[in-house]
């Protein structure tokens, strides 16, 4: 029996953990069903996750397998998880063997691991095809691994293929529900919903479960909106109550707690609350849940929402301006990445969450409220933003998805994405040093700086020293002089790497702070050579402020003259020293280094003199003295800079070609 016979298609869906993995699967299934007959469908999920509540609402049977997240990278903690996955794979193999699907459709989430692996193992026998759907910009680990086994990876963003470990990606776009695709304009939508045409409509929602930080943020922003000169209608869907956070109760309690401007009439209406300020400027409407979100989106001028792949796709499909508040601490920071991706393309503004004092994620009210007011008073900005978001969405997802499935089943070739759209900063996540260099070149209020400012606080509070280290480097990159007391504490308690990084962070500050002299002295006397070298760099960076600080000057001299000092420290010291003392004295100290075995040390002497000369006017006497000093100088070398001439010619030609464009 050929499982892929026409009209006898059996589809196995897997993935889950959150609704974000389940809904796109159901959408894709709808699309396939619209284009061809599907005989049977089965959903394989994990117990106790979102799929357990969502899938039974459809007519799809649901089966469970064992699985576990592989979040920890420590091997001994991975062993039980691997055992679970192994058991799950056996279970999944049993399910696959009996169900005999033609297509296995996986949407990520760790439950898909055993199923995709089982599908891979049984593929020679069953002939099933494995399709992976990745909704986020930056794919999760599971999908990256699973992509190695898959025939096709369907992605929702053009940048995603660069992160996927195979080159069988197809940019299909996110399969939003059909109601988001209907071309209805704002006026019609407002008429249908009974909303006024001339007011500015803001839609605030945090998903069906509600979002604590968005709800509380809005409650805090409401009283500050009094002075706004545009008539405003705010529709707020706060979400249903779930265990842990009772969105509805929490929000209504805060609402009644006098959050609204003086004299506002607050009344219960239908399922929610309504409020109108006395000057009729602000209409506020609170609902636990909005039916027909698509229409509300169309009616809105500005949307405040989460940055899940689904929310963003719906936003882009309708094409509305938005302030996006990505949820913190999700695997791989994927909401942040989704938001940054859209914001880089001008499709939204992002305000990041941070961990508040009460332990809950919060948003900076001042920052949000400033942005909110700015946007509401600039309709043309809202319009361009909406246009860019709209342009960013792939509206042809339905024919593409159907095409991929059709081609796979017919055994035809699929047109994989051949050219990669490089995300702006693919490398950033991997190496902190690269990140530091990048951040230093960013504008002070840039997207990445704001994102990493929050990350930095998180890192500095971390338990493991390697993570704290990242925080220290970021503090330098973000030039947080206000963190210098924290850095001093970390310098006193940290290990060698941390002490070194504190020193290197100080170099980036570009602003002298009195604590630095103390830190430099401690660094110059440190037992670890890299700290001493870095301390010398700090001394060089702030030489103007430190020149008359005698202890620092003496310590720098001591670093250069001490025998058996590490060559790296001496090199930095020799380069730094002329900033602290006069050249004749410098010559006396570094005289013997003219014949040093280490070529870099000799080079440093020359560089030091050169830098000193460019800082001061050259008298004839000084020139003579310098000439005398360098007349005896060993210039043999053990190092050279290669220059590969053919590459030079190639680059010349290539650049010439590029100039013509």
């Amino acid at each position: 029996m050929n499982a892929r016979d026409r009209g006898n298609l059996r589809i196995l869906l897997t993935g889950g953990g959150t609704g974000g993995h389940v809904y796109p699967l159901l959408s894709i299934l709808q699309i396939i069903r619209r284009h061809r007959a599907v005989a049977e469908v089965l959903f394989v999920g994990a117990k106790g996750k979102a799929e357990e509540t969502i899938v039974p609402r459809t007519d799809i049977p649901l089966r469970f397998v064992r699985c576990a997240p592989l979040s920890s990278l420590q091997p001994w903690r991975m062993i039980p998880a691997l055992w679970q996955i192994f058991c799950g794979t056996l279970q999944a193999m049993g399910i696959l063997w009996r169900f005999r699907p033609g297509i296995v459709l996986a949407a990520g989430g760790y439950v898909s691991a055993p199923v995709t692996f089982a599908a891979f193992l049984l593929r020679p026998l069953l002939g099933c095809r494995l399709i992976i759907d990745e909704q986020n910009v930056v794919p999760g680990l599971m999908n990256k691994v699973a992509s190695l086994f898959a025939e096709v990876v369907m992605v929702s963003f053009p940048e995603t293929p660069s992160y996927i470990w195979n080159n069988r990606c197809v940019y299909t776009g996110y399969p939003v529900r059909p109601e988001f695709m209907a071309e209805i304009d704002q006026k019609t939508a407002r008429r249908q919903l009974g909303l006024p045409q001339e007011r500015r409509v803001v839609l605030v929602y945090g998903g069906s479960m509600g979002s604590r930080s968005i709800n509380r943020l809005l409650m805090d922003v409401l009283p500050q909106l009094a002075g706004l000169d545009v008539p405003l209608t705010i529709i707020h869907s706060c979400g249903l109550s779930v265990h842990g956070y009772h969105a509805w109760e929490d929000t209504t309690a805060r609402l009644q707690d006098g959050r609204l401007p003086e004299g506002t009439a607050l009344q219960k209406a239908d399922s929610g609350w309504r409020a109108v300020t006395p000057d009729d400027r602000i209409h506020y409407r609170l609902e636990p849940y909005l039916h027909g979100l698509a229409d509300y989106l169309r009616a809105a001028d500005l949307v405040v929402c989460r940055a899940g792949a689904g929310s963003l796709a719906e936003l882009m499909a309708v094409g509305r301006a938005a302030i996006v508040i990505p949820k913190r601490k999700l695997p791989g920071d994927h909401q942040e990445h989704n938001a940054i991706n859209l914001a880089e393309n001008g499709g939204c503004e992002v305000v990041f969450e941070y961990e508040g004092v009460d332990g809950f994620d919060t948003v900076d009210v001042a920052e949000f409220s400033r942005l909110f007011r700015e946007l509401l008073q600039a309709p043309e900005r809202l319009a361009t933003m909406a246009g860019r978001a709209y342009a960013r969405f792939n509206r042809k997802f339905e024919p593409r998805i159907a095409g991929v499935v059709q081609h796979l089943l017919n055994g035809q070739g699929i047109e994989y994405e051949s050219s990669l759209v490089e995300p702006k900063r693919l490398e950033l996540q991997k190496q902190t040093d690269q990140l530091v260099r990048f951040l230093l070149g960013e504008p002070p209020d840039g997207l990445y700086r704001r994102f990493y400012r929050i990350k930095m606080d998180e890192y500095l509070r971390a338990a493991h020293w390697a993570t704290v280290n990242k925080g220290i480097k970021l503090a330098g990159a973000l030039q947080r002089v206000d963190k210098i007391k924290d850095l001093r504490r970390l310098f006193q308690s940290g290990n060698g790497f941390m002490r070194r990084n504190v020193m290197q962070a100080l170099v980036h500050f570009n602003r002298y702070h009195p604590v630095m002299a103390e830190l430099i002295m401690a660094g110059l006397g440190d037992s670890y050579f890299e700290v001493r070298a870095a301390a010398l760099q700090v001394a060089a960076a702030y030489a103007d402020s430190l020149r008359h600080d005698v202890p620092v000057r003496d310590a720098v001299i001591a670093r250069c003259t001490r025998r058996r000092e590490h060559f790296d420290v001496r090199i930095t010291g020799v380069r730094t020293l002329p900033q602290f003392i006069d050249l004749p004295e410098y010559f006396r100290i570094v005289g013997p280094l003219r014949f040093a075995r280490n070529v870099l040390l000799r080079k440093a002497v020359l560089e030091g003199i050169r830098a000193a000369l460019s800082r001061q006017p050259m008298s004839d006497e000084l020139k003579k003295e310098v000439r005398r000093f360098i007349s005896e100088f060993l210039v043999t070398t053990s190092d050279f800079e290669p220059s590969f001439s053919i590459r030079q010619s190639y680059v010349d030609l290539y650049r010439h070609l590029s100039n013509g464009e």
């Binding site: 060698g496 220059s643 590969f644 590459r647």
Partner: protein, 368 residues
């Protein structure tokens, strides 16, 4: 292959005097080396071009980012050249029925394949950070090493059974003690794994693996020749391993191929061997060390590799525990580069040191 041909000819009555030359291992060793070397001198460039066109390039194949000062975009996975050359020459001149030769050829090919996958993965990910994961690599390596260890202590090993689990030290005439199968099996796994990764980690500068590998392979080839020769093994008071001499034929082929590779790999390199080459060489060296029962000689014969892996381990394991660097950079060759010694000079100096260590290793033939 040629020996089968000659046997067929002899059986059908055709015989020439010079056929008897084939009985001399030394003759075949030299011819294998020459075949491999000449093969690479003739076909090497074509293989490099082929690799280049197949996009097997070191990270960064973007031409706009091409820099005249570095070597990014150089074809990698050049180990495939070495593997081709060795296989062709050994197929021609080796006695393929010999179990020593079979196991080493298999090891050479298997680890070459792992390396090939790793290189292909790195090229595809456009980054050296994204090869096969350390875990995947380890598992794939152990998939060979563990069965090898079991085979080694089993009766199928061509090494005489009494010598299977003895512990030998260089410069000591007699085996120290018999470790027993379980302990010695674990020892094999550990040492094999270490040798393999030591060679892999050394690969960092142009010609840095090639030189010390030539010396180590040659040293083990000499040992294999002595052990496989009744007269010489008796003279130097070594045990006699019948058939072990075929290993020196392989060693000859590998030395020839490495010289042929060095032709292109010498600074500035036209091709890198990649993990394909370094893992294959590591696999071959480890098998040679064990089959000649001279694994304890490796710290001398392949001293450079041991220094590299130790410096790297010290830096990573101890350094990370202490929270500071122990060496300024690890492995040592990066340290030397950092000190301002140019790449060809570092490589030459490390070759000189490896030669010194290899000479000490050869001293252990007589000095026992």
């Amino acid at each position: 292959m040629i020996d089968i041909l000659v046997t067929i000819l002899q059986e059908s009555g055709v015989d020439f005097g010079f056929f008897r030359l084939l009985d001399f291992i030394t003759f075949r060793v030299l011819l294998t080396a020459m075949t491999a070397l000449i093969f690479l001198l003739i076909f090497g460039h074509r293989i490099i071009v082929e690799l280049y066109q197949k996009r097997m390039r070191d990270t960064g194949s973007d031409f706009a980012a091409l820099d005249m000062r570095n070597k990014r975009g150089t074809p990698t996975a050049g180990g495939i050249m070495i593997i081709f050359a060795v296989f062709i020459s050994v197929f021609l001149w080796g006695k393929l029925g010999n179990p020593y030769l079979q196991v080493i050829l298999f090891s050479f090919l298997y680890f070459g394949l792992i390396g090939w996958f790793d290189d292909a993965q790195k090229v595809r990910m456009k980054s050296s950070l994204f090869g096969l994961s350390q875990l995947a690599k380890t598992v794939l390596q152990l998939l060979f090493i563990v069965p090898y260890a079991i085979w080694f202590i089993s009766p199928f090993n061509p090494v005489p059974a009494i010598h299977h689990t003895e512990v030998w030290l260089p410069f000591v005439k007699h085996p120290l003690f018999d470790a027993g199968p379980i302990l010695f099996g674990a020892f094999i796994i550990f040492v094999f794994f270490s040798i393999l990764n030591a060679v892999n980690i050394t690969d960092g500068l142009d010609g840095l693996v090639t030189g010390p590998s030539i010396l180590a392979v040659a040293a083990y080839g000499i040992f294999a020749y002595i052990l496989g020769n009744t007269v010489l093994s008796g003279y130097f008071l070594f045990p006699y391993f019948a058939g072990c001499g075929e290993l020196s034929v392989f060693a000859g082929g590998l030395v020839g191929a490495l010289f042929g590779f060095l032709w292109y790999n010498a600074y500035p390199a036209e091709v890198f061997m990649g993990d394909t080459g370094s893992l294959a060489i590591g696999g071959a060296l480890a098998v040679m060390a064990f089959q000649t029962r001279q694994e304890m000689l490796f710290p001398l014969a392949g001293g450079m590799f041991v220094v590299m892996i130790f410096s790297s381990l010290v830096q990573e394991k101890i350094g990370m525990r202490l929270g500071r660097r122990i060496l300024i950079r690890a492995p040592i060759h990066h340290s030397l580069r950092y000190r301002g010694i140019a790449e060809p000079k570092v490589v030459t100096r490390l070759w000189i040191i490896s030669t010194l260590m290899m000479l000490v290793a050869l001293l252990s033939i007589k000095l026992r």
